[in-house]
Symmetry: C2
Subunit: 315 residues, 2 copies
């Protein structure tokens, strides 16, 4: 069994809040620089002309220790003076961006407009926030998760997720741009060199699937020799956060830990599930522990357990 | 002599803080909707990708009653959370934009990117702030004041004005884009229909000249039948604010009220100067009063006097 300190190259695939928590735990117990995170950009969008990358920023703020402690997204103690003024100008405010958070998006948009790829923008922002973990967008190309719904037809992701609070019934998910999107610089190298790959407890369809939709990333995962472990985002048939169970159900998938294991199939070697699901008959190798991360201590404890379990995976 | 209430169509040419004060005074004593302001966009620039229109916003905020009471530019009680975060990201903050002020610039940039001309953007912003006065940018086209300096060569306007605090020695001013810039929609109509035209106490070279550089505007002023009065931005050889005297001196112009009268020449019918300059031998008709506007009452009093003087102009 590998000791944490012996891992030099771990890759984590992460979406938003749940993924960011495990990433923070991993960063806390791995040697500095050992962790590379491949982040989801399928929910990126333009808002008032600004390029917003919600999932990347959630991971970034969490790693920087400045994430909002309750929401998980956004920055702790952020203010809303810009948004309030936009409302004063008659704008309908449906996407919350605090003032400090806006600074991130203003800079990102500014640098992108200068021709920087998103990966360079992200690296620079992380560097300025003092983050040692490498955070890579899955791609520098446009790849947008689009939601086809029963009630409203086609919805851009944030329209579905935030404006409609994920209430519409999902009929189909489309990942626009997937055919041509290339992995961002460093992504394939990180996957090829990884000693282990961890899929964080993020929504498989909304957070992880967009990453897997980059063909070369999926192929690299298929061709991996390193073990790949996923942590379930579902406990006892309920999502830890957000619409995971609702969407899996609407798309006709089994909406529990078995459904998660089936969804990832042979892309993973084992699934880590919660003690509440201990009795479930799983279709593949699984590890059982407490996967709720309510505190920083939980994140680190789960991360340490995940790293230990890696030594016990039999691909 | 016309009573204030009898004016239905007054046009004011205005730059930044000083111009905005007189504009506010005029708006306060004219019937609602009687005043059209042609604002300077020569100092517009892109900052972090945002289209900033400092002079238009100064007039707009002043008319909305939300201007910063000391600075004159920016919004009263504005906060700096976005700027502070940009600084946290390692950016050198040399241009001050408060959070609420940023909202204006985010919206402006967003609407411009959608293809709106600046005049429509400005009208919409003013409407949302409840401003009855019509504020028109001189042009919807790019027309940028560029400053050639002894010490640093060519400087974009805000580089000269804010970053270098107007300390470099000006050798030459160039108004880039002037050859092709057309007046914004409504500008020529307003000038043609005006019962009187007022050039506010703004920097003749930096604030008023860019407006006059739009060829059709200068021609409309030359062809005017309505009286045109200017209020001096200089009292007793000193600028009321900013580098007016310094620049006029550097460019070899006489840097006093006579210099201002000579600069405008036959574009104006008379110059309004301060009592401190009562004894100066003027090259054209002039009126003498207290032209300092230290309070709101001053603005209104001066505006009323200007409107009365219009009745005494003999073109």
């Amino acid at each position: 069994m590998a000791l944490n300190g012996s891992f030099k190259r771990i890759v984590a695939l992460a979406g938003g809040v749940g993924g960011a928590k495990l990433v923070a735990g991993l960063a806390a117990c791995l040697p500095s620089g050992a962790l590379t995170v491949i982040g989801n950009t399928g929910d990126d969008f333009r808002h008032y002309g600004l390029h917003v990358s919600p999932d990347l920023d959630t991971v970034m703020y969490t790693l920087a220790g400045i994430a909002h402690p309750i929401n998980g997204w956004g920055i702790a103690d952020d203010t809303r003076y810009v948004l309030d003024m936009l409302a004063h100008y008659g704008e309908a405010i449906w996407f919350s961006l605090g003032d400090r958070d806006l600074a991130t998006n203003i800079l990102r948009t500014h640098w992108l407009a200068q021709g920087w790829p998103l990966s360079r923008v992200t690296a620079r922002l992380c560097q300025q926030l003092g983050i040692a973990t490498r955070l890579l967008p899955m791609t520098d190309d446009p790849l947008a998760t689009v939601v086809y719904t029963l009630e409203h037809g086609r919805l851009a992701f944030q329209e579905y997720f935030v404006r409609h609070r994920w209430q519409p019934t999902v009929q189909r998910l489309v990942y626009e741009g997937a055919e041509t999107a290339q992995p961002a610089e460093g992504v394939l190298e990180a996957l090829h060199e990884a000693e282990a790959i961890i899929i964080c407890p993020s929504n498989p369809l909304l957070s992880i699937e967009p990453i897997l939709q980059v063909r070369a990333i999926r192929e690299a995962l298929r061709a991996r020799r390193a073990p790949c472990l996923a942590v379930s985002p579902i406990i006892n048939g309920a999502a830890l956060k957000g619409p995971t169970v609702k969407i899996m159900h609407e798309l006709g998938l089994r909406a529990d830990v078995v459904g998660v294991a089936e969804y990832y199939g042979d892309l993973i070697d084992a699934l880590i599930i919660d003690e509440a699901d201990r009795a479930v008959r799983m279709p593949q190798q699984c590890f059982v522990t407490n996967i709720r991360m309510l505190s920083s201590a939980d994140r680190r404890r789960l991360a340490e357990e995940v790293l230990m379990m890696l030594g016990e995976v039999h691909p």
